[in-house]
């Protein structure tokens, strides 16, 4: 192949890619940034859309709540997922391993909406848990388990279990079992083996899983609004309200930019601090 036909070939595949990423990703975000810095009427430059957020204590509170809640849920998901990933890669036999893998993947396949719905079926006032606890005589009238912070946390852990477990499994897979045995032989107990051998080896997987889980929590809409109801107070809800209900694209854009900036900066800092490479990890 000569150089000029090679060049033509490059343009042939470069143009569709640029059209796609340009029209459906880059330009929409440019527009989002632009809208966030202009006034709704007139379209002149203004910081009012951002000041509206920073001056409003309720919005600030919701933002901080979303960030802190997302972080705590990420840690909780890590605590739940790590033993699971360890069991799947190091303890389980072939059949249990397949069952556990299926159990982690199946809820993901049936979509986040159905996941949240199944928990609504279980936790609502006339739901399965309330019914069972009454039958067992533990409670004496129907109890509403929905619309609490713990319900939101439960739902978020459930939806992000896969995104935490799989990366940790991938990094534990490369840990040689004989290293664990050697630690035992040298007199280490389970906890010190965990601390000195297993967790350091799983660190890249923990990092990737935590970043994915955190981003999913931060941007979550379905799980938090269905399981949290009016009490969810999640930042994505405010974005929705501005865009769709108040039809204020400028304030909505500013809020979207705030969410995007925060999540990108947060992930960037985490990657820098832990010296991980996202493109390699993915």
């Amino acid at each position: 192949m000569n150089a000029s036909s090679k060049r033509r070939g490059l343009w042939l595949v470069l143009i569709p890619m640029l059209l796609w990423i340009g029209l459906l990703f880059v330009l929409p975000h440019v527009k989002l940034f632009y809208l966030s810095f202009v006034s709704r009427r007139g379209g002149e430059f203004t910081l009012a859309n951002y000041l509206y957020f920073f001056k409003n204590p309720l919005y600030r509170r919701i933002f901080v709540r979303t960030a802190v809640f997302s972080t705590l849920v990420t840690l909780l998901t890590l605590v739940v997922s790590f033993p699971l990933a360890f069991i799947i890669t190091k303890v389980a036999g072939k059949r249990l391993k397949a069952m556990l893998l299926l159990a982690v993947i199946l809820p993901y396949w049936v979509s986040e909406l159905i996941q949240a719905f199944t928990w609504m079926v279980l936790l609502r006032e006339s739901g399965v848990f309330s019914y069972l606890l009454q039958r067992l005589g533990i409670i004496h009238h129907p109890v509403e388990f929905l619309y609490h912070d713990y319900t939101i946390a439960l739902g978020l852990v459930y939806t992000s279990l896969l995104f935490m477990t799989i990366p940790i499994m991938n990094s534990l897979d490369t840990l040689d079992d004989s290293l664990i045995e050697a630690a035992y032989d040298l007199g280490a107990n389970f906890w010190s083996t965990l601390r000195e051998i297993i967790i350091p080896h799983a660190a890249p997987g923990i990092m990737v899983g935590s970043i994915m889980t955190f981003m999913l929590n931060l941007g979550n809409y379905v799980t938090v609004t269905l399981l949290g109801g009016k009490n969810s107070l999640w930042f994505t809800e405010i974005i929705y309200n501005q865009f769709i209900i108040r039809f204020n694209q400028n304030k909505g854009s500013a809020f979207s930019v705030i969410l995007l900036t925060f999540s990108v900066v947060f992930v960037w800092i985490v990657l820098k601090v832990t010296k991980q490479d996202l493109s390699e990890a993915m």
């Binding site: 569709p16 975000h29 719905f117 994505t236 929705y240 865009f243």
Partner: protein, 286 residues
Amino acid sequence: MFRREGFTLSKALFYAYAVLALLFTLGPLVIVTILAFNNNPSASFPWQGFTLDWFKSSTPDRVGLFNDARMMNAIVVSLKVAAVVTIISILLGINNAFLFIRHKFAGQNALYLLMLGPLVVPGVVLGTSILAFSYGIANGLDKIFGAGAGTFLRPGFWLVVFGQISFVATTTSMVIAARLKRFDLSLEEAAMDLGASHPEAVRLVTLPFLSPAVIGAAIIAFLFSFENFNTTYFLSGSDPTVPILLYSRLRFGITPEINAVSVMLMVVTGILGFIAFVFQKEDNAA
């Protein structure tokens, strides 16, 4: 001796944990499946006998899923959206795989990172940005070509399709590129030595090699599209997709029919997911 006992104890703990994990992950799905066949209009327990009413009844007080016109319409809309999104995302995926694996050009790494962007950006932000962008373009088209010219860029079928392609094509690109990377270029050269032109060699040798990844990526694309909520929510118009319709209904309460819809989705997505899993395994084995 001590260590041995410790080991058995921790093994027992591990198995207990595994059982809890199975209950936690699969329990809710099993219960919803049981309730979909429970002859109890409250969509809860107690068990009042087996029924298929929530699937096929057509009496006014019990409308089964197959007789619910709006639900069936949403299923058709979702299938149409998913089909278009899958086809375009696969074509883009093959295109991008060749772009990043077969070519070297300035700024390639930066462009690859940019391609990952739609997966990193929260779905809500992606949805709002595309909504804001298309709104401006649609107004412009209406102004230049007359009212109605920009309608396809207003919330509705095509805007949902465009919004979903933005992130689905990233996934198909990554899956197909991973396979193309493992292709032995000498096979293509051999075909050309035997008289094939370069496009013929790609069509007869390279594309068949890519097919497991393409099929796997197509199923993943279909599932991503069919299930997407966050981005779609901002872009859908008067004809909602299944997740959007279910969401709007769930805000008013739970009906047994939604149990039936869930069961149907579980079965279909479960089968599709399983097929994708098998193809991915084959892909990795090659």
